[in-house]
């Protein structure tokens, strides 16, 4: 089960961080931010390698893979697994799953991919809200609700 979903902007500022579980404790909120930020370095690293590895024999396979928006498992800790997705517009979507709970330990890659794809669709809809200014945090309650549904249902 997904425990946390984050949308990170072009300049690595968090646009939205949402999680499920005991929402009330601030400690939980802090650990979420921490988890998401650990993944950002790994994310940047993968993006950078797309541009530099233009020569060499084995890069063609790697490059076609890296042109995919879904970047796969970025980072895993004892308790969590962090998956990443970067859109063409450099918006980073990060999904954190728990690796300790029985349902979370055997998540298939395809499930995470579809969840992140749907999250991207939701983000595109949220951006199209005329009251939303580019680069602002996403405060839409509708977006929040739909993201929580994805987290509960899919992964």
């Amino acid at each position: 089960m997904a425990v946390c979903v984050a949308v990170i902007g072009k300049d690595n500022s968090p646009l939205y961080i949402g999680g499920i579980g005991n929402d009330t404790s601030t400690d939980n909120e802090l650990s979420r931010q921490w988890l998401v930020h650990t993944a950002l370095d790994a994310l940047e690293e993968r993006l950078a390698s797309t541009n530099t590895n233009n020569t060499g024999a084995n890069t063609t396979a790697a490059r076609t893979d890296l042109r995919d928006l879904y970047l796969g498992l970025l980072y895993s800790t004892d308790t969590h697994k962090i998956y990443g997705y970067v859109t063409n517009t450099r918006i980073k979507l990060v999904l954190v799953t728990s690796s300790t709970s029985p349902s979370g330990s055997n998540i298939r890659d395809a499930e995470v991919r579809t969840a992140l794809r749907r999250l991207h669709a939701l983000y595109a809809d949220a951006i199209c809200n005329p009251f939303h200014l580019p680069g602002d945090q996403i405060t839409s309650l509708k977006f929040d609700k739909q993201v929580k549904t994805i987290m509960l249902n899919n992964v």
């Binding site: 450099r90 595109a124 951006i127 580019p134």
Partner: protein, 159 residues
């Protein structure tokens, strides 16, 4: 098609409105302020881009992005592709549309040439907004020499 004409009429009304506003604010008869129209285009371009690139693989480089603007982006908005794309490979791109849709309703000669800049401001903003969302900062200007054809100059700002 009906949905096209709605966009066209709304576009020309927005321009009329912006002209009215700028007439109140400035005394100078010659100068018209189209920055509002350009900004509306920017916001629209920014939002459209997020949707259009959703199913696309990541772009390789700047030229790849420009090709996307010329083909898919233009088709989505104007139902045709850009007729000619030229570049000096140093950040200047020229997009030529031989029958730009907002200008096709006017006479082909020089009759309304002085009003043409009003009808390209929105599209300049549209291109700039689309590119801004793809992390390319640019200045977009347009040039109309003879009526239905229009050239858009894109200067990419490198820091």
């Amino acid at each position: 098609m009906a949905d096209d004409i709605v966009f066209e009429l709304l576009h020309s009304e927005i321009i009329n409105y912006a002209l009215d506003q700028s007439k109140d604010n400035t005394n100078d008869k010659k100068e018209v302020d189209l920055s509002v129209v350009e900004y509306i285009g920017f916001a629209a371009g920014y939002k459209i881009m997020e949707r259009l690139t959703r199913e696309w693989p990541r772009f390789k480089d700047e030229l790849d992005t420009m090709k996307f603007i010329c083909t898919d982006f233009w088709t989505c908005i104007y139902k045709k592709q850009i007729d000619n794309l030229r570049t000096n490979h140093q950040g200047v791109y020229v997009l030529q549309d031989n029958a730009f849709r907002f200008l096709t309703n006017f006479s082909n000669g020089h009759q309304y040439l002085e009003f043409a800049p009003r009808y390209v401001a929105y599209t300049c903003g549209l291109i700039r907004g689309g590119l801004a969302n793809l992390c390319i900062n640019s200045v977009v200007t347009a040039e109309v020499q003879s009526m239905p054809s229009c050239k858009f100059h894109i200067h990419v700002q490198r820091t």
